[in-house]
């Protein structure tokens, strides 16, 4: 099996797995306790917090709020900042559902929500985002890069324009997909809140964090025992958090290699396919993450192609992985103006940190072989 669905989840980096092992065994403590077993767990998550804060360029470790993953963090950022001020949300039509559904939730509660469109390449115009902001806006959320297409958004331009036009509005970016290949930091994004997820960067599933700039107040979404300074209650996923920190450090250290090796593998994959079959690259004229090849093979329904590829030993996806089973029309492609019949032909191949140099050509050959029989 050649695994080309790293945008859905990545294999665990060995550093992360090794770091987690003790916490799946005798270091089982609940960090919210007074005894030694609890203290060792508490030490572990606070050390992890420090390391992730450093990686993100945060000013203080307590700016990192551990969550149950990217969607959890997106909810806290969008819902939490809208609820605390009663203000509205401005976001884009291509966001992950974690952000979009959070926006729709606060809209149902009566908050103003504005969804800004994108161009045919999937890019949002920073001036359109700023134009949508008014005196009532609490938070603006623009993803760093799209999970389906890999198209990179002009996040720092949005941040700069917002700072100039509406300095009180909080800016959030979902950097879940971008973190593995882009230098996602507080400084580079200019964001007050940043979402990162462990399992997209070689860490375990079920853990992530929201960077929250010091001084930013959020209404919690998960209520309970007051963990994470009351911002996200619930007993800590200690092993997950430790693995997350190890994955963050490994991913950051690996970014240089990742950018060149994964990028050239992806490029070779795309060019070898183009030399054999009819294929269109989504967002070809936009800046894209090096990991994503979002392609359309005209005349080949993605549902059929994915099954054939699975049979042939290639794991790929049609779009977001959140809807298991049958495929739904992608809201991302919709927003880009892709007609539904073309959207039904979209397939995402996503490369990851694990060795891809040998597999890119092999994968291109298999994919082209299958597509040739269907086109």
């Amino acid at each position: 099996m050649i695994y080309l669905d790293n945008a859905a989840t990545t294999p665990m980096r060995p550093e992360a797995g090794a770091a987690m092992q003790p916490y799946l065994g005798d270091r089982f403590g609940n960090p919210s306790g007074v005894h030694g077993v609890a203290r060792r767990a508490k030490d572990a998550i606070e050390e992890a917090r420090e390391r992730i804060a450093v990686a993100l360029g945060a000013a203080h470790p307590l700016e990192i709020v551990f969550t149950g993953g990217g969607t959890d963090a997106d909810n806290l950022a969008v819902v939490g900042s809208a609820l605390v001020s009663g203000g509205g949300v401005v976001t884009t039509a291509v966001e992950h559902d974690g952000v979009l559904e959070s926006a729709r939730f606060v809209e149902r509660l009566g908050h103003a929500v504005t969804i800004v469109g994108v161009d045919g390449e999937g890019r949002v115009d920073p001036s359109a985002v700023v134009a949508a902001v008014d005196g009532n806006t609490a938070v603006v959320s623009v993803m760093s890069a799209n999970n389906e297409t890999g198209v990179i958004q002009p996040v720092s331009e949005v941040a700069d324009a917002l700072t100039a036009a509406a300095p009180d509005v909080l800016f959030h970016t979902d950097a879940v997909q971008a973190f593995a290949s882009l230098p996602v930091t507080v400084e580079k994004t200019g964001a007050a809140m940043i979402t990162v997820s462990a399992h997209k960067i070689g860490g375990p599933q079920g853990v992530g964090c929201l960077y929250v700039r010091k001084g930013v107040e959020l209404e919690p979404v998960i209520h309970g025992g007051g963990q994470e300074l009351g911002r996200r209650s619930g007993t800590h996923n200690v092993a997950g958090i430790v693995g997350f920190a190890a994955a963050v450090e490994a991913a950051v250290a690996d970014r240089g290699r990742y950018g060149s090796v994964v990028g050239s593998a992806r490029d070779r994959f795309e060019s070898e396919l183009a030399s054999r079959v009819k294929v269109e690259v989504t967002g070809a004229d936009a800046e894209r993450l090096v990991s994503h090849a979002h392609l359309r093979f005209p005349g080949v329904p993605s549902e059929t192609l994915l099954i054939r590829l699975d049979q042939a030993g290639i794991a790929a996806a049609a779009g977001a992985a959140c809807h298991s089973g049958a495929q739904l029309t992608s809201h991302v492609l919709d927003a880009m103006g892709v007609p539904p019949d073309q959207g039904a032909e979209a397939v995402r191949f996503s490369f990851g940190w694990a060795d891809v140099t040998a597999t890119a050509s092999a994968a291109a050959t298999v994919v082209a072989d299958v597509v040739e029989t269907l086109q």
Partner: protein, 359 residues
């Protein structure tokens, strides 16, 4: 050889998948996602409910075969659900499972077999396929009480050459025993009876999905006397006895539905008797017209075959005239008439109208 097994999540298709594996096939399991209710969930009644799809997935995992959900929601809505409501509005009684087989399951799945790289299509239907020098034959199931050949009558030679129905060779008890022996979670699962996109009964579905079907009107005797009123013609089917909302001495049956005037005509059992029916869209399994005009015909899924003669009605193309040997309680237009020669399915079509020789 690769087999594409349509898995509903029931015991029959579960065992069918297992039998194909035992027969040496490479097996792929699929479930057709056909209906998304108003709440965005998969259906909750009949076959292919949420739990059913999950059962299919779990059985596939247990058999260690790849399993996929195929999205046929658009096709199903267009070809089955919308006509279902239209048929009731026209005073007819549709059989959505047959339309689903004709227009979704067997057309769409056959169309995709090549693309999916598979050689044969397998379902858990209780019916048998045989081949001799004359070609392919579709036969009633070994288990007469579970026979489903009625809903498969639209299959032709090309389809039969590519379909396998291993369950039709077994009794239901044998299927369950086999499932239990294999340790399949579906071994004791009850048979599904309902229409998959209809929650309790079809009337409440129509009330919600097509509110305009709730058009009240009179209940009228055959002599024109108004006996009562009703809440909508779609609540009735020909031959229906219960729920007429009238009080008369002897049993009364729905003998005619007139959607244009919203009238439901009721009469005695004698009034219900007809001499035959007109059947349209007729196809024959053999691909050519049958030799014998004398057949047994089934006019409902759960009815005994009755002797009849069939002949092409030359006045109207593609329509066949079915003459029952003896007067018979009226079938409901919209249901299928399926022609049998003993155990063998000859073909069939949709009942358009009934024939009353004296009327």
């Amino acid at each position: 050889m690769k087999a594409l097994v349509a898995m509903s999540g029931g015991v029959d298709s579960s065992v069918a998948a297992a039998l194909m594996l035992e027969a040496g096939f490479e097996v792929i399991g699929v479930t057709l996602k056909q209906w998304v209710g108003p709440d965005g969930e998969m259906p909750t009644a009949g076959c292919c409910t949420v739990a059913d799809a999950e059962d299919a997935r779990r059985v596939a995992a247990q058999l260690d075969i790849p399993y996929y959900v195929l999205d046929y929601v658009d096709e199903f809505t267009r070809a089955v659900v919308e006509p279902f409501a239209d048929e009731y509005l026209a005073g007819r009684t549709p059989n959505p499972c047959i339309e689903c087989n004709r227009k979704v399951r067997f057309s769409a799945l056959f169309d995709r077999m090549d693309a999916l790289g598979t050689d044969v299509l397998v379902t858990g239907h209780h019916a048998r396929v045989r081949r001799d020098e004359a070609g392919w034959h579709l036969l009633r199931a070994v288990d007469g009480t579970k026979d489903q050949s009625y809903v498969l009558h639209m299959l032709g030679q090309v389809e039969l050459s590519r379909i396998r129905l291993p369950i039709g060779e077994m009794t239901k008890a044998e299927v369950r025993e086999r499932a239990a022996a294999l340790g399949l979670r579906t071994a004791a699962k009850p048979d599904s009876q309902d229409i998959c996109f209809v929650k309790r009964d079809y009337r409440s579905f129509l009330d919600t999905a097509v509110p305009e079907t709730a058009r009240p009107g009179p209940v009228v005797a055959t002599d024109g006397t108004v006996l009562g009123s009703h809440q909508g013609t779609t609540r009735f089917t020909i031959g229906q006895r219960k729920g007429l909302g009238i009080a008369v001495g002897e049993p009364r049956y729905v003998v005619e539905i007139r959607p244009a005037s919203a009238e439901v005509i009721v009469g005695t059992r004698d009034d219900l008797l007809v001499d035959g029916c007109l059947v349209s869209g007729v196809t024959f399994v053999a691909g050519h017209l049958p030799v014998a005009a004398q057949v047994d015909v089934k006019v409902r899924y759960r009815s005994k075959p009755i002797p009849a003669t069939i002949e092409a009605d030359h006045d109207s193309g593609g329509v066949w005239r079915v003459s029952f040997d003896q007067k018979t309680p009226s079938p409901a237009p919209g249901q299928s008439a399926v022609f049998y020669d003993g155990e063998e399915v000859l073909g069939g079509g949709v009942i358009d109208d009934v024939i009353r020789s004296d009327g």
